[in-house]
Symmetry: C2
Subunit: 191 residues, 2 copies
């Protein structure tokens, strides 16, 4: 997706240790028109898969998952990392390491909103090691719903998440921009 | 906003102690078409105020703030509650009690994304006691930007937040649905 790639090239910052800062348009501050285009593109990649619900993880997955859900005309569900008092005790739970916060987080969803008949598309802002997305997919498995695809806005191919997800879950994995190398302060894009 | 009011009447749950559960369409699960309509309505209420940025707090403010920003064609910024490693040390900070989590949270924004020339509209899912929104407004003040309005999707008028905000900040406060009474398990709407 050229528009996104250009934006990363212009505003993305390589903070070292594989950390790509995109706080000016994806995380923290969000460009709503860009994220609308991102959602349309992700929706198009999974058209025909019969998606009935988009699933993401709070916090930074919410914006692209919402616009994907809008384009697919289905609800979006975001897994919580802190249990709100409105969530029942029988929540589905899975844990994942937090790349940018330095500890493990637990992802929780309420069984009310993910049922066995659903066909679920997982959307997140980054596909890096794949561990957050893997935890989301485990929540889908707990619910008995069917995972039909995984979409990410930005993939860091050098972290190996795609291979890990493909080995665990037999679904298509799509990303809109691939960053293949961040060594030596660079941001190198794939095809 | 009739569509929203109808949805609350149909799916909202009064959990007691003033807690209104709207997890099936606003928090946790989000109806993207409803939240798109919410954003358009909030944008219309503040048309002509010269809004250059929408500000909200993670997590559940993100969806309505994004759609409001989309309708106003401006960026949206969400204050973080946990400092990501991508955020500089000189973040603006303000604290607010968390109604649904039972402790205080700190809201943080990066000075990079809120500058003195900005005209800021605060959008959040709920206006209850007003303390989260007040903390957001304090962040705007720290930045030197101009607060031009406060918009909430659902107002719980019996918590007094509107009066508190109006006494602190001289800006219009708008909500799309007012819930005036939640005693005895009821959900009573205002005009």
């Amino acid at each position: 997706m050229q528009e996104l790639r250009d934006r990363i090239a212009r505003e993305g910052q390589n903070l070292g240790r594989g950390i790509l800062k995109v706080d000016s348009f994806i995380n923290h501050q969000v460009d709503p028109n860009l994220v609308l285009a991102v959602g349309r593109e992700l929706a198009q990649r999974f058209a025909g898969r019969g998606v009935s619900k988009v699933l993401t993880a709070e916090i930074s997955g919410i914006a692209p998952a919402l616009t994907t859900a809008l384009a697919l005309n289905v609800p979006v569900l975001y897994a919580r990392k802190t249990k709100p008092i409105t969530m029942p005790e029988n929540a589905y739970r899975a844990s994942a390491p937090s790349h940018t916060k330095g500890h493990f987080v637990e992802l929780m969803i309420s069984p009310e909103f993910l049922q066995a008949h659903e066909r679920v598309l997982i959307v997140d802002d980054f596909l890096a090691s794949g561990q957050t997305i893997s935890a989301l997919a485990l929540l889908v498995q707990q619910s008995g719903a069917t995972l039909v695809g995984i979409g990410a806005v930005i993939e860091k191919t050098f972290e190996g998440g795609r291979a890990s997800l493909l080995s665990q879950f037999n679904v298509p994995v799509e990303s809109l921009v691939a960053v293949t190398d961040m060594s030596d302060g660079r941001i190198i894009f794939g095809d």
